[in-house]
């Protein structure tokens, strides 16, 4: 418990540090939301100045940061100039859509990667292992953009599933099963792209960790005592290989909000990706800060989750913590 508090304290300090940096960098970036208005001859300079003053943009950085912190404490996370609403209300819906997509893709990727990696590690050098390794090399070398374009091209050519968006027009008129089917078919392109993008790294990690463990003396010694292949893999090797995989899982969870931005933009998924792009282009400062901070918090929580899981599964770490 003490460990959890210590890690949480570190996490909070990290969030504060990240928020300060985020504000600092956004201040250094040229231009602002109201700068385009200056080009409009119908809007006077005094109106623009009044708008800047209304949103507090004429004040110094520390004052603006202080106001933003107060807004965070109220649960609003700042104010969107473009949407004229609190950042929280904007983020909630978009983050829900993003989390729905990325959670599904992450679960799918891990469900495929762990058994495939274990199987490849237990048959190293065999032809199926070589084919899988070749496949993962190919996937790693392809960028997300190429993957999404390929999938979109396939979808357009075959008309197998819809392209773009999260639901079809007329979604509300569909029955429950119809809605589920519509959502599922819309999910295929973005979820497949995200799964295929993260899968090769996961498979290779699982395979490499397990091959390393299968060559250790304690696994050899277990074999010498007549311990069968399945028990060797799942009771000895996989738990021993768990630590690096748990750290990787922490990164996967941490990237749930930020890992899909490009795919969302390309497939028109109404998540945080298109919102971030749009807000960045229009210099909607607090929306950008809100999305960056939400991603940071997720990353820190993912790492915290991994740290806690490591303590749960590794008795050596528990012993070390008890000794402290």
């Amino acid at each position: 418990m003490k460990y959890l508090f210590r890690r949480a304290r570190h996490g909070i300090l990290l969030v504060i540090g990240a928020s300060i940096l985020c504000f600092l960098f956004s201040d250094l970036a040229p231009g602002g939301f109201f700068d385009e208005m200056k080009l409009n001859p119908q809007i006077s300079a005094s109106t623009v100045a009044a708008l800047r003053a209304q949103y507090g943009l004429d004040r110094g950085l520390p004052v603006r940061y202080g106001s933003w912190v107060q807004s965070v404490l109220r649960g609003e996370f700042g104010y969107s100039f473009a949407y004229n609403t609190s950042v929280r209300s904007l983020l909630m819906l978009r983050a829900r859509n993003t989390l729905f997509l990325t959670s599904l893709a992450t679960i799918l990727a891990w469900l495929i990667a762990v058994p495939l990696g274990v199987w490849m590690a237990s048959h190293p050098g065999q032809w199926v292992d070589r084919i899988c390794m070749g496949g993962t090399s190919l996937l790693i070398s392809l960028s997300e953009i190429v993957l999404v374009l390929g999938l979109l091209y396939f979808a357009v050519r075959t008309h197998a599933f819809p392209v773009g968006g999260m639901v079809s027009t007329g979604f509300d008129q569909l029955g429950v099963l119809g809605k589920v089917w519509d959502l599922t078919t819309h999910l295929i392109v973005p979820a497949a792209a995200l799964t295929l993008a993260s899968l090769p790294i996961l498979v290779r990690h699982v395979r490499a960790c397990l091959i390393e463990i299968l060559g250790t003396p304690f696994v050899e010694s277990a074999r010498a005592h007549g311990i069968g292949r399945a028990r060797l893999l799942f009771r000895h090797a996989l738990p021993a290989a768990a630590n690096p995989l748990i750290s990787l899982l922490g990164l996967s969870v941490g990237g749930l909000l930020s890992g899909s931005l490009l795919v969302e933009v390309m497939t028109g998924w109404p998540g945080l990706g298109p919102l971030l792009l749009e807000s960045s282009m229009s210099r909607d400062l607090y929306v950008v800060v809100g999305i960056v901070m939400a991603s940071t918090v997720f990353m820190i929580c993912g790492n915290l989750l991994a740290d806690v899981m490591l303590v749960i599964v590794d008795p050596r770490l528990r012993a070390d913590l008890r000794a402290e």
Binding site: E220, S221, A224, H225, G226, I227, R231, P239, P315, R316
Partner: protein, 283 residues
């Protein structure tokens, strides 16, 4: 066993290898060209029951490969291994499962050879559980008895391997090895890496266990001084072959093969240097 196989079976040796060969195919670092490394090349060895046979030789001479073949961790390319008159070279999983408990291996690196996530009791109990020798509460009781037998306090049963010293870990590895009441124990450099006092304690334990359980040992070692003190028989390996074998007095007292003479000679040079250093006040 067929009549032919029965006729070929050894009559006196507990373990016998005949014309055992094992090759490893390797690939060069910067080329795809493959080449074969002959780890064992027609090894004939008899291991007498109830005795301690030492296998000595330089690094890369094939000692550990022979140990791995005997422990059924590697399949020899050709040749036969006999245990109590039964051939174990054939790839028969049921036969291997039946014979495996009779042959146990104690590795050099006790820290690496024990699962760091398991407690001492779990490490000892696992082979008993796998081979269905014990179950339920009796499993842990038997593990504690074995800990006591090798001189480890049973109240350390919940400790993990890294909480033990090197000598204690080696005792733990020995407790696991004798859990299945084997007939034949392979000690692959098991005493190396321990300080002299701990080495003596572990050695005494091994000798006590040998007389208590009528164990047969194959001790793989670089340490000719140690081998000269405890071995009943000595076999010398060089380039995958047994180049000389016989009683300790024969092999170490009047070595015949040039490689054996070189090994014995290097120990004598070291001893002479040590005596000179002692006479000069020691450094």
């Amino acid at each position: 066993m067929t009549n032919e196989a029965a006729a070929r079976a050894p009559k006196t040796a507990l373990v016998r290898t005949t014309a055992l060969c094992k090759q490893y195919v390797q690939r060069g670092s910067f080329s795809r060209k493959k080449f074969a490394v002959e780890a064992l090349s027609g090894v004939d060895l008899d291991i007498a029951p109830g005795c301690l046979t030492a296998l000595v030789g330089g690094s890369g001479s094939g000692k550990s490969t022979l140990a791995r073949c005997l422990a059924m961790l590697e399949r020899p390319d050709s040749g036969e291994i006999w245990l109590e008159g039964e051939s174990i070279s054939v790839g028969n999983p049921q036969q291997a499962a039946r014979l495996r408990p009779k042959i146990q291996l104690v590795f050099q690196d006790s820290a690496g050879a024990l699962n760091p996530r398991f407690s001492a009791a779990e490490i000892i109990a696992e082979p008993l559980e796998i081979q269905r020798r014990e179950s339920g509460p009796r499993l842990r009781e038997r593990a504690l008895e074995l800990m006591e037998e090798v001189g480890l306090p049973p109240d350390w049963a919940n400790r993990r391997p890294l909480e033990f010293s090197g000598g204690q870990r080696q005792r733990l590895a020995i407790a696991r090895a004798i859990a299945l009441q084997p007939a034949f124990l392979i000690l692959d450099e098991s005493l190396s890496g321990l300080d002299l006092s701990t080495q003596a304690q572990v050695l005494n334990l091994l000798l006590d266990l040998q007389s208590a359980h009528s164990l047969t040992y194959l001790l793989i070692s670089h340490d000719l001084t140690l081998v000269g003190q405890i071995a009943d028989f000595v076999a010398v390996m060089h380039q995958g072959k047994i180049v000389e074998r016989g009683s300790r007095q024969q092999v170490l007292g009047s070595p015949q093969h040039a490689h054996t003479r070189k090994l014995v000679g290097s120990v004598q040079v070291l001893e002479a240097a040590f005596r000179t250093a002692q006479a000069g006040g020691g450094r």
